[in-house]
Assembly symmetry: C2
Homo-oligomer: 504 residues x 2
């Protein structure tokens, strides 16, 4: 059937084309069926939404991405045909039936997600089947490679390529720029790509972009990494493992991140930039993705097994995550804390220790003995800060950048203790909820500054934490949530304190 294409912009993985009920009926198409659209000898398959509100009979609404692929513009005529379910649906069904998938079947599913041939319904079924039935290491390795092959790769002329990944889930984890700066200062190359927050209050890219540009293209990333030794880039601005972004949109409302998907997603980005050595940080604690040390050990084993299959030397570090890392949560607050440590501040020690321990492991992977000590020297001597500033400037930041430039939101609320005792618990999830209510990560000044950490003594009226916001309405919203959730637990007796807790 010949139809007039009407261009629509839409971010949805799903909303690919819209037809009137009459045209859908004439084509024998039901809601959620697919059509094949042909023009200029190109073709694309898309899922159909049926509605009479957006186009006339004889017209078809097509998302911009497909318009580009077919090289057509608004008002052009296209040929539209019914298209049967893609073969990859069979692969999804097979995983639903808990059978092992071949590497071709996995590749078919990944390719069809990238090509928008699978609808949100099918992607959701796929993720649910992965969540319930899982994959073995061989399948995950094939999954990783399929994710790599459906995107771009970056090939460095300089080797080895070191990389670092934190599984996340712990708020305030602003160590990445410190780790990269120390490793690069030691003469190794660490081209780090990070993500923005999905469900957290602040991803690495969310705070790094408050002081320099994170949206680098592949060429710039390669150039800076090879010349300066490191970058802190946003992974999303390159076409690396693009399937991940489409999958995240479906994972997000379900609140799941199936193990196979998570592992393949992390490692595909590392394979795509040709990482030869990778350190994975596994933050472990209540209210994170990894609640117990046993779960952390299982992930570590998975990562190392996958590293073997994929030809990457992988080491893992299980880190303490029962409370936020450092004191600051939120873009500008985290940026300020991060930079102040590079400038020489001695607090918060949890950030300094974690950054130096992890950078130290990477240095040792690169053949430098006594890595943690060396890392600390590079930080204390200011050499890491000098390297940090080189990277910042290469990424378009100001050469005179100082931590003092990062001024958090002007609307502030102090939360004080109504009781005396010891801080028994700081709930990661509640801290994140409050920071998000205050506007983080899109409001750059929003967030939380902790004034007490676990194990510390507080008296009545002592400041526990401050909420920052860029506007009054969101501050109010965050205050309401803080009152409801009470992220601090204070007890009069130390007897219940967990002995592993570090007192600061």
């Amino acid at each position: 059937m010949k139809l007039i294409a009407r261009e629509v912009d839409a971010d949805a993985a799903d909303l690919a084309v819209m037809l009137t009920e009459a045209d859908a009926k004439a084509l024998g198409i039901k809601e959620n069926d697919r059509v094949r659209i042909e023009a200029n000898k190109e073709s694309a398959v898309a899922v159909v939404v049926i509605s009479d509100s957006f186009q006339k009979v004889g017209e078809i609404c097509v998302i911009d991405e497909i318009m580009r692929r077919l090289d057509i513009k608004d008002g052009d005529t296209v040929e539209v045909f019914f298209s049967a379910n893609p073969d990859s649906v069979r692969g999804i069904r097979k995983k639903m039936d808990n059978k092992k998938l071949s590497s071709d079947e996995i590749r078919g599913i990944v390719q069809d997600i990238v090509d928008s041939k699978l609808s949100k319904i099918e992607i959701s079924a796929w993720l649910t089947a992965l969540y319930i039935n899982g994959m073995d290491i061989e399948e995950i390795a094939a999954f990783t490679e399929a994710m790599v092959d459906t995107g771009d790769r970056i090939e460095f002329d300089r080797t080895p390529v070191f990389d670092f990944h934190s599984m996340g889930g712990v708020p305030g984890n602003k160590i990445t720029p410190i780790v990269v700066s120390i490793v690069a200062a030691a003469g190794l190359m660490l081209p780090k790509t990070s993500s923005r927050a999905i469900s957290s209050a602040c991803g690495t890219s969310d705070f790094v972009e408050t002081f320099c540009n994170v949206e680098l293209d592949a060429q710039t990333l390669k150039m800076i990494s090879e010349e300066v030794g490191g970058v802190f880039a946003w992974g999303g601005s390159m076409n690396i493992a693009p399937v991940d972004d489409m999958v995240i949109k479906v994972e997000h409302p379900l609140g799941i991140n199936p193990r196979a998907q998570m592992l393949a997603s992390i490692l595909s980005k590392k394979v795509a930039i040709g990482a030869t050595h990778l350190l994975v940080d596994i933050p472990t604690g209540k209210g994170t993705k990894v609640p117990t040390i046993e779960v952390a050990r299982a992930y570590a084993r998975d990562f190392m097994d996958l590293g073997e299959q994929l030809g990457i030397h992988i080491e893992c570090a299980i880190t303490y995550a029962d409370q936020p890392v450092g004191n600051a949560i939120g873009p500008k607050l985290e940026a300020r804390e991060c930079i102040s440590i590079l400038e020489g501040a001695k607090h918060p020690s949890s950030v300094i220790e974690k950054a130096c321990d992890l950078a130290g492991i990477i240095l040792e992977m690169g053949g430098i003995v006594n890595g943690a000590v060396k890392a600390r020297e590079l930080l204390d001597s200011g050499v890491a800060h000098k390297k940090f500033m080189e990277i910042v400037v290469a990424q378009g930041g100001r050469p005179d950048l100082s931590s003092k430039d990062l001024v958090p939101g002007e609307f502030v609320f102090d939360v004080t203790s109504s009781t005396a005792g010891y801080v028994h618990d700081i709930d990661n999830k509640n801290i994140v909820s409050i920071a998000k209510a205050a506007g983080a990560p899109s409001d750059k000044g929003a967030g939380i500054l902790l004034h007490r950490k676990k194990g510390q003594r507080v008296e009545v009226g002592d400041l526990l934490f401050q909420i920052y916001a860029d506007n009054e309405a969101k501050l109010q919203r965050a205050k309401d949530i803080a009152t409801r959730y009470r992220p601090f637990e204070i007890e009069g007796m130390l007897i219940k304190r967990v002995t592993a807790t570090k007192v600061r």
Copy 2:
């Protein structure tokens, strides 16, 4: 945030509201998140699609159903807020984790699907979890009751209420009007609601509507049933177990029908019309929903256990379904075959036998001895035909209706045998594919007429089947598929024939 509502019509369970990127950002909303919309002291929760193509900043596209619920019209101002995930998502997660759900949790999920609070992504995850992890009989009973309670009920003044359901999956199964007519002729009441085709070539309502109106409201259905003794209505025109329609839209592209969902869906409609006695036909054979007798027995056990929980007397009949029932597949072709049997035709005997056997079981459930013999008498004597005509007329059909009125499509293609031998197999799925390619069920004249059945001898050039279509293009499409799929398997030796096969 105050926004101007713009009405859109859309059939999608999902496409509930659309926001511009700017407004979504201001509300802190990502794709697939939810908003709560308030107006006139009413509120509705809906899933968000983000696009700048369909409305301006400051506007929100709202589907007609929600417009009605809020009692607003195009151009009215509504208040829009971010809305957290509904609690029912937790229930879905719990089933993903293979835990037993409480009756309240099941009710919450069903209610949120009916209220459009769950997106296609979440409904897909729910169905996938049900498919993989299943439900026990207690959960399915609660599921059934939740589906009943979220829709309307019909209460008959006349009891007992007999009902009949075929699990379907076998093409050409046009027995329903015959069964209903026989049972009503015997003085029992059978208010039968049927469905339209989902993935088959012709549902009962698809062929019944070629000779009378099937879209009855609840009041009319009750009146005709009580006065005449039976109806053949389309279940979709009443608000009975409305969640089913929303779920089908998600099941369809996945090609799954989880056991728990199927059982609850069938039985909810029976509970909603107050059925006291139910006969379930379980067509069993290659290419149907129930491939083997063992699977059929398991379903029969499920139905009877559920009947006990729900207070309905349920019996099951496992019927032969290795090939189509009778010779006709497609709306007008099936209607013609069905009516001709009521008029006294002695062929095809498979249809007559199946209808009389099943009607006989229902008669016995109603205390009539020797049911199958009695059923055959009612059919042969013309009493059932008289009752059939009473129902047809009550449903707005012509009082002089004859099978000759049902004229199939004028475009016909004869498929002949290129080899001599015995018909070893007729593939149900391929027959359905060809009939659908010819235009069934929306083209009423489209379909297939079989001239040979399993076990019969054919010579070279003998007519195997005819394809009917309402237009030439679809006939061509069906011919192409017939050539590719070859639904008949003919072998030279009888030795491979399954002994249970009836030779006709």
